[in-house]
């Protein structure tokens, strides 16, 4: 084994069981089974994958509600959507009473422009990216928002609100009545309000170019605030998180759209002065911007898939651990979400978990796949892998801050772990989460010397080692996640019958 990669300074710890895979222990059969039955039963019906896709690729449009609403939050979400629809109705009614007739030709023009713009800017989901990687980080291009703002500036408030009401219907794919109703209502509200704000500020400012710019910015600010507030409200209900936390996650996505209000003003002016043909002018820049955005998204996906492919290749050294890292990554990301991590940190946590065992490239497959007790020398080699992994990952600039979690994912709360024998809070939080995800995955997957445990049994096992090996807080978060019916799609399916079966020869390693 070339020592170049091995990070020294790791004292060999004799006798103590280090690898999380080795804490399998004896499952207590009585405590298994029931905990996760809800999750197992729902596997076929609940749409667990849509949960985090709630914010549509925010780069391509205003925030809209995309996810399928889960059963248990239905009533509160229904009530919220109902309120939104009522407000939209009231707004349109009051606008209809106070302003002139609907400007039909303008309405039709901007609706068509919206459809064209959406066609230009929808990225679609890039195939194969896990949820953590697919979340947009810096949205800048927003054709849908731009066209709506242009409509708000060019048309009367009533017309703008009606355009807002219609356009979500054009967004493809159509995702059900509840979401359609909410998106229509909230778009109508913010488009109408933006148009009113624009008209109001312009009157107060007395015309002229500076007043025009100011009123455009004011209108867009109103639209962004309303849009963000309404959407984070429903997201908070749906995800059972606090409104503020969700708002904090999505607000900056929306604020990035503010510069577009100036371009929208241009479109509106061009429409008023030069007619429809002049306004279509603006689509050329959007097209180019989209190609740049596409290129970036494609490369981000390539990046993720390349790392994943490499990790898979390394895992082939020990066939029993194949796809281990991907499953750990999935669990770790969900745990971080449950523990209230910020949305924009999840991608890094995903990569940290995906690459946590990359250091095993420098450990011979004969040691990794060995059944039976490892010799002290072999232990020493195995214990180098977090250091090796941290060393490697530290060489990639965008992964620099996942180094601590990779280095410390085998530390134990009681301070007997490796490589640094840290204890308690001295272990980085992400490393503690990673340890729980790692152990949970190791327990639930098959090994040459035992069958994988059911999720319930594995959870009982984790609770047993909480406080000595694992962080109790994180273990409880995992328990809550499983009890609420969450299913990890990548984990091997364990039917109820199987859970009821006597566990076969669960032999502890050595």
């Amino acid at each position: 084994m070339p020592s170049r990669l091995a990070v020294r300074g790791t004292p060999p710890l004799k006798g103590c069981v280090q690898d999380s895979e080795e804490t399998a222990g004896q499952p207590r059969e009585s405590s298994g089974g029931g905990v996760c039955s809800a999750g197992v039963r729902r596997r076929s019906t609940c749409c667990c994958c849509a949960r985090l896709d709630l914010v549509k690729d925010a780069g391509s449009g205003p925030l809209v509600l995309m996810a399928k609403v889960q059963e248990r939050q239905r009533i509160s979400v229904f009530a919220y959507v109902g309120c939104t629809v009522c407000i939209a109705g009231a707004l349109i009614a009051s606008l209809a009473m106070h302003s002139g007739p609907v400007q039909v030709s303008r309405g039709v023009f901007f609706t068509i422009l919206f459809a064209l713009g959406e066609r230009l800017s929808i990225e679609g989901k890039v195939r194969g990216i896990p949820r953590a990687g697919s979340r947009p980080r810096m949205p800048l291009l927003s054709a849908g928002f731009l066209v709506l703002m242009a409509a708000a500036f060019a048309c009367s408030p009533l017309t703008a609100a009606l355009i807002g009401l219609v356009t979500p219907v054009l967004q493809r794919p159509w995702r059900g009545t509840l979401r359609g109703a909410f998106n229509s209502a909230q778009t109508a509200i913010y488009a109408g309000a933006a148009s009113s704000a624009y008209v109001g500020v312009r009157h107060a400012g007395g015309g002229g170019a500076p007043a025009m710019l100011l009123s455009a910015i004011a209108g867009a600010a109103v639209a962004i605030t309303l849009n963000t507030t309404l959407v984070s409200g429903v997201m908070a209900l749906e995800r059972r998180r606090s409104v503020i936390a969700v708002f904090r996650d999505v607000a900056w996505l929306a604020v990035a759209n503010l510069p577009f209000s100036l371009i929208a003003l241009l479109v509106a002016i061009l429409y008023k002065e030069g007619g429809p043909a002049a306004a279509v002018f603006i689509l050329a820049p959007l097209y180019v911007l989209r190609s740049a955005r596409r290129g970036k998204i494609e490369l981000d996906a390539a990046q993720e898939r390349t790392l994943r492919a490499f990790v898979r290749a390394v895992e082939l050294k020990d066939p029993y651990t194949s796809r281990h890292s991907e499953r750990v990554a999935e669990i770790a990301v969900e745990l971080h979400v449950a523990l209230g991590a910020r949305e924009n940190s999840l991608e890094r946590r995903y990569y940290g978990a995906l690459l946590h065992d990359i250091g095993k490239i420098a450990v011979s497959g004969r040691i990794l796949a060995k059944v039976g007790r490892l010799t002290p020398e072999e232990y020493e080699v195995v214990q180098r892998h977090p250091g090796t992994g941290a060393f490697v990952v530290g060489g990639v600039s965008f992964l620099a801050d996942v180094v601590p979690e990779i280095l410390h994912h085998h530390e134990r709360i009681d301070g007997t772990g490796y490589p640094c024998r840290l204890s308690g809070d001295a272990i980085p939080f992400a490393a503690r989460v990673l340890a729980v995800a790692d152990t949970f995955e190791a327990l639930t997957s098959d090994r040459p010397y035992r069958r994988g445990l059911t999720t319930g049994m594995a959870l009982a096992e984790l609770r047993r080692s909480a406080g000595s090996q694992l962080d109790p807080e994180v273990v409880e978060a995992l328990a809550r996640l499983l009890e609420s019916g969450h299913v990890f799609p990548l984990l091997p399916a364990r039917s109820l019958e199987k859970a009821g079966m006597p566990q076969l020869e669960v032999a502890q390693r050595a």
Binding site: M1, P2, R4, L5, G128, M138, L140, L141, A209, P210, L213, P259, F260, L262, I263, L266, I269, L270, E273, G274, A278, F281, I282, A284, P285, Y287, V288, L289, S291, A292, R293, G295, K296, E298, L299, D300, A301, A302, Q303, R305, T306, L307, R308, A309, F310, R312, A313, V314, L316, K317, I358, I361, G365, R366, A369, V392, G395, V396, S397, F398
Partner: protein, 354 residues
């Protein structure tokens, strides 16, 4: 009078600001947004009465000389900007001289003339950049490659200059404030794309280093092969994106070996099975999946290999023979197939230069 001076000043400032940065395109090409603002400046010059076009041109030239030459330290680029701006001005002034009889349609005509001026500016900029390349005999190919890469952005910049002329009477000097936003957004989007490319390259390089560090690939082999592939590709005037991909494939061409249980197993497995593993990995990346078959075909010694595969094979064989001149010559001479002649000749040229 005052409004005219304000308009002229804002147009000159916008032009100056636009020379301060360049938009990075994927093919190692850079595009300056100055063409749009230079052409728009010419339009301002003919539509104001208070400031003479020559005064505006001189001020603009001075500003860009300070920004591009003195601050960015690119005197050559500054000269290109100066010449392009003067030509754009001349073009628009000519129209103003002969097109003034058009009356009401004048502004519409001006939009088209300004768009044309912007494209001329753009073409001069790109051709001079091409002329600076070292491959004299390949200039035309490189120019076509650049022009194709830059065409969409050229359209955007041209339409921006046209829009400025349209909006000018309505927004006055604020036109330039408003029109700067899309250009900045464009720059930002393309910069992120470039950043993503660099990050991806860094990741691939790290993975190649990792395979070498763990003993699965000879030390330095991947990066040397990648470098040779790039140099041969440049010598054969491959389009830049293919060279970039070839570099990544060169780095990863043996990486499939990491699936072996231990580096000591390398002796007992065929190069074909390693290539199979590499091909599998490349396929999973999707981005480089086109090369999965090529790598496999190269390892099998197939005859019907695309150009990238031939480059990879020659570079790989040459690097494997590294250390002894006799072996290297032997490796080069072993490619007797006529298909390989240009590749080997390119490698010889690369070796002579270095």
């Amino acid at each position: 009078m005052n409004a005219d001076i304000l308009l002229g000043a804002s147009a000159v400032l916008a032009f100056g600001a636009s020379t301060a940065f360049e938009i990075e395109l994927p093919n190692a090409t850079h595009v300056s947004p100055a063409s749009a603002f230079g052409a728009a400046l010419a339009a301002v010059a003919v539509s104001t009465n208070g400031v003479s076009p020559v005064q505006l041109l001189l001020v603009a030239l001075a500003i860009q000389l300070v920004i591009v030459g003195a601050i960015r330290r690119k005197w050559g680029t500054s000269a290109i900007h100066g010449a392009s701006l003067a030509i754009a001005f001349g073009f628009v002034l000519l129209y103003d001289q002969f097109g003034s009889t058009l009356g009401r349609e004048r502004r519409v005509g001006l939009v088209f003339v300004v768009i044309a001026a912007c494209l001329i500016y753009f073409a001069i900029d790109q051709s001079v950049r091409t002329a600076r390349e070292t491959h004299y005999e390949l200039r035309l190919q490189i120019f076509i490659g650049r022009a194709r890469a830059a065409a969409p952005l050229a359209v955007v910049l041209a339409s921006t200059s046209g829009l400025i002329v349209l909006v000018l009477p309505l927004l006055g000097w604020m036109t330039f404030v408003v029109m700067f936003v899309p250009v900045l957004v464009c720059k930002h989007e393309f910069a992120r794309w470039g950043q993503a490319r660099r990050t991806y390259g860094e990741t691939v390089r790290t993975l190649a280093d990792l395979a070498e560090g763990a003993g699965y690939v000879a030390q330095g082999h991947s990066s040397r092969v990648a470098q040779l592939c790039v140099r041969i590709g440049q010598e054969l005037a491959l389009p830049p994106h293919r060279i970039q991909e070839l570099e990544l494939v060169g780095l990863l061409h043996d990486v499939g070996a990491v699936s072996l249980s231990d580096p000591s197993d390398l002796a007992s497995v065929s190069s074909e099975s390693i290539a199979e593993s590499t091909g599998h990995l490349l396929k999973e990346t999707e981005y480089l999946s086109r090369y999965a078959e090529i790598v496999l075909e190269v390892a099998r010694g197939g005859r019907d290999v695309p150009l990238e595969g031939r480059i990879l094979r020659v570079a790989d064989a040459f690097d494997a023979a590294r250390g002894s001149t006799v072996n290297e010559l032997h490796a080069l001479n072993s490619f007797t197939d006529p298909e390989y002649t240009p590749v080997v000749a390119a490698l010889r040229r690369v070796l002579i230069v270095s």
